[in-house]
Amino acid sequence: MTLVLNEEQLMLKDSAAGFLAQKASVSHLRALRDSNSSSGFDPAVWRAMVDMGWAGIAIPEAFGGLGYGYTGLGLVLEQIGRHLSSSPLEATVLVAATLINELGTEAQKEQWLSAIAAGNCQMTLALQEGKHHAPERTALMAVPKGAGYRLNGSKQFVLDASTAQYFLVVARSAGEVGEGDALSVFIVPADTKGLRIEARSMVDSRAAGVLHLDAVQLGVEALLGEAGQARQALERSLDIANIGLAAQLLGLSLEAFERSLTYLKERKQFGQLIGSFQALQHRAAKMFAELELARSIVLQALQAIDQGGDGLSLLASAAKAKLCEVAELVSNEAVQMHGGIGMTDEHDIGLFLKRARVLQHSFGDYNYHLNRFAQLKGY
């Protein structure tokens, strides 16, 4: 495997870029925001994405997907990052479908993956409980009750909470908080009794919410895979999710950087284009070098998902940590280089800053992943 894109992948990337620029660009995000959209995305755009096959892009052909692998999905996510597009692609396709594929029984995969690929099912993972991503600290208990389980607790920062038809709820079947073992995942329909969704307004204008589970009674069929055995599949799924988010952060950073470059070539102060000031030139050149590194680690990580094999966790934490660092650098520099105009809501550059931090935070930020990187390196 070489670290280049093949013809098919290059075409996919171009067509995604073309579609999003027209249908789900930054100005569409702004319109969604200003209309106080409760879903956080445009259903027609999602329908079009499904029609292009994006909902099943990484789903095996056996389950109705395109089987392009995660490298393909990553290319689309990179373009999503460039345009700050909002859609169920992350929650449903990147995260939920992956977890079902990694943890589900064959029958469950058959049922759910084909539904997702066909665009007939929106799902989202309900994992985080506190302010931070910390799967091993899951406290929400699943207690055996009757022929199934009873769940009590709540989940924070659930993306697409208002529109999801199903929640993948991570619960503890046994053990103490702080232990990673004995976790289970349940497929919970949105209309289940005892489930309450509290919508939250986040800085990046996407829809997220808190999920409250009050004595929610589930049958055994709600269990994804086997009880108490979710740990490994969850970890792999989160690794994949983080690589996908890294791809999105890459697109976002590249776009914010390129917009800043354009501004440096237009804006004059002291009778000169500000892009002619050497201090800004060197900062831009350093960012460019960092972005080149970012491109490489993301591509390497995406390919590693598709290749299988060991060591994915290290690459996932490397890619996410590096992209968190680069996105933070670039999104901050972008505002600074735009000066006063960059501070206005009217200008688009601030939207990149906002989305960046939310993506950074999702499933563990720089601090989380650099820490994990060191642990995986054995120190």
């Binding site: 939250r200 102060q269 000031f277 989380y368």
Partner: protein, 393 residues
């Protein structure tokens, strides 16, 4: 008992008797402080009462001379007053650009008549002022401003546009840089004038920031009038006053980087817990936090040292540029840390759960610190040229 101790006792007693209980509550936002003016924004009915009582003693501007509505207090007395106010958690009775910016400029550059006319209404909170400096094409390069003032005998006719005028939509008067002459170099021909904004020739449009708030405006002058008696200093020599106020503004903004408002360390321990060695469980965040706290400590020490040195007649050139640069970068770091520490809670935009998005909006607002009042890049230019004596290209 020393005179100062006597002053302390009297002050304490007066504050106890006169500061309403409702004014002894911590403010969450700078924007909740009373700013006065013809149509004051009242967040609590006691605000005006508290301001009036303080103004009567000259204590809204305790260090100003009594003849201009000030308290005529010495530096040490002002310190005592601040300490006693802090003791009972008293809110500032009045804060405004009139007090922080125009007042010092008038005291230094204004004529006796100008001081008599403008300072007392500032001290009493009757007139709210804004500052007309930047223009769309004169940001970092402020001196290239183009707002034009044409001599019409006893007044100037003013045409042009200002931007980043703080609270222009809520202000009564403006102190403004205008061009009275464009024949010489760009630093010449700038004049510093004051005029009333209650005129149809002046319109303001608030600018919404990425934080969602609108502390700044665009301000348009379409044949606005500024009377010559309100020209401060000489015509065409306004750049001197502008530089003085820029230095002053820098120092104000740089103080954002000093004394933290809440403990980051406590928040970190609460969010992440400690490991078996008693260290913050997130080792990476721990280092960022320690680096920030170390720099904040050294920065505070530097503010104190430079203040002490100035008193002793030893001086650091361009101290205000160093403070502006470092203080605002530090404040941005602090806010990034705050977001990292608070995770999801710092990414909320609205609603009770997020206190209306306070953490998030503070973070976004902090990005402007290194732009407003002279960008970090401008400060670094000033340091390298004026202090280090590095040559021009």
């Amino acid at each position: 008992m020393s005179k100062l101790e006597q002053f302390r006792d009297e002050t304490r007693a007066w504050l106890e008797a006169n500061c309403p209980q409702s004014m002894r509550v911590t403010l969450h936002s700078f924007e909740d402080i009373y700013s006065g003016g013809r149509n004051p924004e009242i967040k609590h009915p006691d605000q005006k009462l508290w301001c009036d009582r303080m103004a009567e003693r000259g204590w809204t501007v305790p260090h100003w001379p009594k003849e201009y509505g000030g308290g005529g207090l010495s530096g040490e007395e002002v310190k005592v007053l601040r300490q006693e106010m802090a003791r009972i958690n008293a809110q500032p009775p009045l804060e405004s650009f009139g007090i922080s910016m125009l007042g010092p400029a008038l005291l230094k550059f204004g004529s006796e008549a100008q001081k008599q006319e403008h300072l007392p209404p500032i001290a009493r909170g009757e007139i709210r002022w804004c500052q007309g400096y930047s223009e769309p094409n004169a940001g970092s390069d402020l001196a290239s401003l183009q707002t034009r003032a044409v001599d019409k005998g006893d007044y100037y006719l003013i045409n042009g546009q200002k931007i980043w005028t703080s609270y222009a939509d809520k202000s009564d008067w403006i102190f403004c840089l205008v061009r009275t002459d464009s024949s010489g170099s760009k630093h010449e021909g700038i004049s510093f004038v004051l005029f009333d904004m209650d005129a149809p020739e002046i319109t303001t449009r608030p600018i919404k920031l990425i934080s969602g708030n609108s502390p700044f405006c665009e301000t348009f002058f379409d044949n606005a009038k500024a009377y010559k008696r309100n020209l401060i200093g000489e015509e065409g020599k306004g750049w001197t006053i502008a530089k003085y106020l820029l230095t002053h503004e820098r120092e104000m903004i740089s103080s954002f980087g000093a004394a933290p408002r809440e403990s980051l360390a406590e928040a970190a321990i609460e969010a992440f817990g400690s490991d078996a060695s008693g260290r913050l469980a997130n080792g990476v965040l721990r280092q960022s936090l320690a680096q920030y706290q170390l720099d904040a400590m050294a920065f505070s020490a530097t503010m104190a040292r430079v203040r002490d040195e100035a008193k002793a007649g030893q001086g650091l050139g361009a101290a205000s540029s160093i403070f502006k640069y470092y203080g605002t970068e530090l404040n941005k770091r602090r806010n990034e840390l705050n977001v990292a520490l608070n995770g999801e809670a710092a990414l909320g935009w609205e609603g009770e759960a997020y206190e209306g998005g306070r953490l998030c909006r503070d973070w976004l607002r902090s990005k402007g610190n290194s732009i407003e009042g002279g960008t970090s890049e401008i400060q670094l230019n000033i340091i390298s040229k004026r202090v280090l004596g590095l040559p021009d290209a």
